[in-house]
């Protein structure tokens, strides 16, 4: 077996693989799982928000659809929740197209506003819709009927499932970066008018990016509700879900492959810490903190920590480690 070269990527992969073996207590495992989920969502957001520059602040709409679908299929038809995952994805794709087509013709603000409006619309509506449990929400199987229910006692299996999904998403993003699609995404972000003049089919590309992003965000939502066994309008479509994706990606580096990962690495432990210290009032203060961080990022370092690193780190060290 050929031993892979030691690069930051392989170190990262190795680290993530053995993390649960070293930090095996339920508390650490939970942080690990939360971290992975956050990294997946933020990396999915990154495709349309970071690379293409179309800032969605209501991405929870896809997360929520993905989260509700499995539990809805279980509640209505007694299916295994994972059977519901494709439905979440399909609904998310439809929603992405419905939003993208009218708004991508207009300036970026319309898209951003539309994402807030639609996410809120769905959240409020689901809160009144009895089919999906209204304000109470839905639950998954209490005990496993078979392996397919994915109700594990320990979080360890979830950890590796989520890790696999993250790996697939990052690999896909990596491939995109090096192909025409990725170049076109970045061109759109850098200058739509110029991109058009070079033949870039801007409208089409934006919609494709949104669809791709929606698919993985939906998947993240599905993973979340399958693991937690519970979903309600707030945890599915709430603004915290949208904000978290944005801030994690923006903090680490929007438009960079590992940006969301870096952001999650910092923010998830931070969030866990503030929740522990501030207890119940934690969520309110968390938002204040998030708001402040977002403003600072916007004002001083829109490229996130990655860009900061690129500016500060000595050139030689960086070039040696360029992947």
């Amino acid at each position: 077996m050929k031993i892979p070269a030691v690069t930051p990527t392989t170190l990262l992969a190795a680290g993530l693989l053995i993390y649960p073996l070293i930090f095996s207590g339920p508390f650490y495992l939970d942080i690990g799982v939360t971290f992975l989920l956050a990294a997946i969502s933020a990396s999915a957001w990154n495709i349309v928000g970071g690379y293409t520059g179309q800032v969605s602040v209501g991405h929870a709409m896809f997360f929520g659809l993905g989260a509700y679908a499995p539990l809805l299929c279980y509640t209505l038809f007694q299916w295994a929740p994972i059977a519901g995952i494709p439905f979440g994805i399909v609904f998310s794709i439809v929603l992405a197209v419905l939003i993208g087509i009218p708004t991508f013709r207009l300036t970026g603000h319309y898209f951003s506003m539309a994402t807030i409006a639609v996410a809120e619309l769905i959240r409020i509506y689901f809160g009144t819709w009895d089919l999906v449990g209204a304000a109470i929400g839905l639950q998954g199987p209490a005990t496993a009927r078979g392996w397919w229910d994915l109700t594990f006692r320990s979080e360890l299996p979830y950890y590796y499932i989520f890790l696999a999904v993250l790996a697939v998403l990052l690999r896909l993003t990596f491939l995109i970066e090096r192909r025409r699609f990725g170049y076109y995404l970045r061109a759109i972000k850098a200058g739509e008018r110029a991109a058009r003049s070079l033949g870039v089919p801007v409208q089409q590309i934006k919609i494709k990016a949104l669809i791709l992003s929606a698919v993985f965000t939906s998947l993240a939502g599905s993973l979340y509700s399958v693991k937690t066994g519970f979903i309600d309008p707030e945890s599915g479509f709430g603004i915290l879900v949208s904000v978290q994706m944005v801030i994690i990606a923006a903090l680490g580096g929007a438009g960079k492959l590992y940006g969301p990962l870096v952001g999650a690495l910092i923010l998830i432990p931070l969030q866990t810490a503030t929740n522990t210290w501030f207890g119940g009032g934690g969520t309110g203060l968390t938002f204040i903190l998030y708001g402040g961080i977002i403003v600072l990022i916007a004002r001083y370092e829109p490229g996130g920590l990655f860009e900061l690193w690129e500016r500060i780190a000595p050139r030689g060290w960086r070039r040696k480690n360029a992947s």
């Binding site: 928000g49 970071g50 520059g53 800032v55 602040v57 009218p102 708004t103 013709r105 207009l106 300036t107 970026g108 603000h109 319309y110 951003s112 506003m113 539309a114 807030i116 409006a117 639609v118 809120e120 619309l121 409020i124 509506y125 009144t128 972000k189 603004i239 904000v243 944005v246 923006a250 929007a254 009032g281 309110g284 203060l285 938002f287 204040i288 998030y290 708001g291 402040g292 961080i293 977002i294 403003v295 600072l296 990022i297 916007a298 004002r299 829109p302």
Partner: protein
């Protein structure tokens, strides 16, 4: 009769929407920028009013002025410390800047004032007028009428005064305005002050007539988007008309379908607008 009452109520609320939305449309028209924290400015205006009443025992005139003034200052401050830097930057930072600001303001308010709904103690404006069988609560009536007057006043200020034409000059053609000796930076700061001030005083008017909590900022922000989108970005008269229409639609929806639909209808209207007529009622395609 009840229907007529609902209609009047909707229009009066819509007038306040028109007032604060004018502020948003002014900024958009001038610098192609959407302030995602605009709803929070309205919300702050409401709390300033509360504080003035509670601590200083002031009446409507006092807290109206206080709200307008404090928000004006805040608007200028936000422009000078944040907005003018992100204007030159990528779209991501433009959108994140006021979005983050909105979170900051909203949750700080939650932290300080809690999530409970509050309302102003009885002011000198109370009671209900009976106009030809239609019952109109005095607070709502006064708030709505003043809002319309102020909105018209804003429009007149922009179109008839020297300062107003300077503001418009900068939004039309920055370069030309500079050549005429107008300082765009100053005008933009002023615009932010006016925009926030309009929001603040709209908040004070709102506070006279309706209860609120820190959560209203988000709803007002979205309402303002819809009004501005419907009325045409940059048009204050458009905002006036659109605000009244939105208020009306909201009242009728709540009346016919239930109070839950009050917010849903606004968001749904926005989405429909994007699909069917993004340039608004008064805009050009």
């Amino acid at each position: 009769m009840l229907l007529l009452q609902v209609i009047v109520g909707g229009l009066l609320l819509g007038a306040i929407y028109a007032l604060f939305s004018s502020g948003l449309t002014l900024i958009w028209g001038m610098m192609n920028f959407i302030n995602f924290a605009h709803g929070e400015f309205v919300m702050l205006g409401m709390y300033v009013s509360l504080l003035v009443v509670m601590w200083l025992g002031g009446g409507p005139a006092a807290f109206g002025f206080a709200a307008a003034f404090s928000l004006f200052v805040l608007g200028v401050f936000v422009y000078l410390s944040l907005i003018r830097y992100v204007l030159r930057g990528p779209m991501l930072s433009q959108i994140l800047s006021t979005f983050g600001l909105a979170l900051l303001l909203r949750y700080t308010a939650f932290w300080i004032f809690s999530a409970n709904f509050v309302s102003l103690p009885q002011t000198s404006l109370s009671g209900t007028l009976n106009v030809g069988g239609v019952l109109m609560p005095v607070p709502q009536l006064v708030a709505g009428v003043i809002a319309i007057l102020l909105t018209i006043g804003l429009h007149l200020m922009l179109t008839r005064t020297k300062v107003g034409s300077q503001l418009l000059a900068v939004s039309e053609d920055r370069g030309a305005a500079m050549l005429m000796g107008i300082r765009p930076d100053r005008m933009q700061a002023l615009a932010w002050g006016l925009s926030a001030g309009a929001a603040g005083i709209a908040g004070a008017l709102m506070a006279i007539a309706y209860p609120w909590s820190p959560s209203v900022g988000e709803t007002f922000g979205l309402t303002a988007f819809v009004v501005v989108a419907l009325g045409g970005f940059g048009s204050v008269p458009g905002a006036l008309l659109a605000g009244l229409i939105i208020g009306l639609i909201q009242a009728l929806s709540a009346f016919w379908f239930g109070p839950i639909y009050k917010d849903i209808i606004v968001y749904a209207l926005f989405v429909a607008l994007l699909w069917l007529r993004p340039q608004g009622l008064m805009g050009k395609a």
